[in-house]
């Protein structure tokens, strides 16, 4: 399969300046990290605050450029300035705060913002806006003001705004952190559906473990490095290691682990409630 994103030996340093403008402290947000994402994959990146996961996300669409090492998106090096806009069109990004990423005062105008920046013809923009809004099921709100929408709806508008640029990859940077449970579900379902039906590569950064269970691969980050990675089942069955770096495992996995410890004959790599029900029924 085609390689979408490749990064090698990535290092990113934040420089903290004192009042005199001298560098006072250097913080390594990313510390020697390799990354490879193939086309059409759904990748979840987990990690607690300050683990470098958001910094990594910003490298994928060239909002940040690595201090050392390199990152290529569809073969384009992010360090080359000529590639920046092409990369950002291919790798769209949805941010955490739904209010701070909507620019226009009308939903459809906001969705049109991306393609307008790319210089797309007006008729084509119109077509893309309608398609994108339909893809996130926000078509009926096209002429509404974003201020009156719920958090989940605003986030879906933001997704439509990225879709209208026709990206091959979307990076979700904790898109559900500020939403209520129903909004979280809306956004997650949209991301999953875009991955399955439209073949868009999805990179989901989150600290909700339950959101990672549908991923093809889970990457766990700690202190700017990849602590470990694998399928959701592989990753979450390492309950102890997850807890050691301050992360939880999905509730179902947690319960399965405890039952196992109590001496029941129980698989520990359960992720969904359905699997749990199946396992309990098989108990005897």
């Amino acid at each position: 399969m085609e390689k979408m994103i490749v990064g090698e030996g990535l290092v990113f340093e934040y420089h903290q300046h004192n009042d005199a403008g001298e560098v006072e402290h250097i913080h390594r947000a990313i510390d020697g990290l390799d990354l490879e994402v193939r086309k059409g994959q759904f990748i979840a990146i987990l990690g607690h605050n300050g683990s470098g996961k958001s910094t990594l996300a910003k490298h994928i669409n060239a909002l940040l450029v690595p201090t050392e090492g390199w990152m290529r998106v569809k073969g384009m090096d992010t360090r080359e300035e000529g590639n920046v806009w092409k990369i950002r069109q291919h790798a769209g990004m949805v941010f955490q705060n739904p209010d701070n990423q909507i620019i226009a005062t009308i939903v459809e105008e906001d969705v049109a913002f991306g393609p307008e920046n790319l210089g797309v013809e007006p008729e084509e923009i119109r077509r893309r806006v309608d398609q994108s809004l339909d893809a996130v099921e926000m078509g009926e709100y096209a002429t509404h003001s974003p201020n009156k929408l719920s958090g989940g709806q605003k986030q879906r508008v933001a997704i439509a705004g990225v879709l209208a640029m026709r990206p091959s990859c979307i990076i979700f940077d904790e898109p559900t952190a500020m939403l209520d449970p129903s909004g979280r579900k809306e956004v997650l379902d949209t991301a999953l559906q875009l991955n399955r039906n439209e073949g868009i590569t999805v990179i989901l950064i989150t600290h909700y473990m339950d959101e990672a269970i549908h991923a093809d691969r889970v990457i766990v980050m700690d202190q700017g490095k990849i602590a470990f990675q694998g399928t959701p089942k592989e990753v979450f069955s390492r309950t102890e290691e997850m807890k050691a770096i301050g992360l939880d495992v999905p509730q179902v996995t947690e319960i399965a682990g405890r039952l196992k410890r109590e001496g029941y004959d129980f698989p520990v790599d359960l992720l969904t409630i359905e699997e749990m029900v199946g396992a309990i029924c098989r108990l005897k």
């Binding site: 909002l63 950002r88 769209g92 990004m93 990423q101 105008e109 007006p122 974003p146 640029m165």
Partner: protein, 267 residues
Amino acid sequence: MIRDITLGQYYPAESFLHSMDPRSKIVLTFTFILSLFLAKGAPGYGVAFLFLVLAIRASKVPPRFMLKGLKAVFMIILLTVFINLFLTPGGAVLFQWGVFKVTRTGLETAVFMALRLIFLIVGSSILTLTTSPISLTDGIEALLKPWEKVKVPAHEIAMMMTIALRFIPILLEETDKIMKAQMARGADFESGGLVKKAQSLIPLLVPLFISSFRRADDLALAMEARCYRGGEGRTRMKRLSYTRVDVAAALVVAAYLLALGLLARWL
């Protein structure tokens, strides 16, 4: 309470004026405002008044909405009237009391000045009442476009207006939230004199400023992520286009100007 402030006073309706192109509305409104300075004497103002009545009828906006705009500047109008009334020399003295002297010219100037101000405000509120903020912004951008050659930042001005329109309700909401949070902890915004009230706003403004800087930072990042790089090479989804409505409106305004000009000639 703070959320009751409505921004831009757009009155949605389907009318002749609503269907006009924002560019022609802006240009014609300015033409009308300028024409007020050419109008002379009662007949001139009469023609201007008739034109306004016609415009209000064509806008389908209830006249009381127009008058709302006047309330805000009532004091200014009153002040202008008084200054003109008492301080204009010349003509027959109609009334005198101590140093205060009202002359015939003074009275005339005062009345016409008040009318001019009222017409001016009503005229411009017709523009804002019949044009949504977003199409007003589009209109301003399109009209300023030719001036970009002499370094007028047309696109930047329009983008700033759009972002301001988008964030003012959000910031108002946030102000409300911070106010309530501080009131819950015993802050007092209600009592005290003007100075004390102003002082009590400081703890409100500091967090508001900090959060708006953070929002600006986030928004800039989101805009860059969506390939925003200024106005160059940018297209627009909606294209403005003049229609027959605009031609008709231009003709009406031309007829009005002609009437005004002829009157000025005769008198």
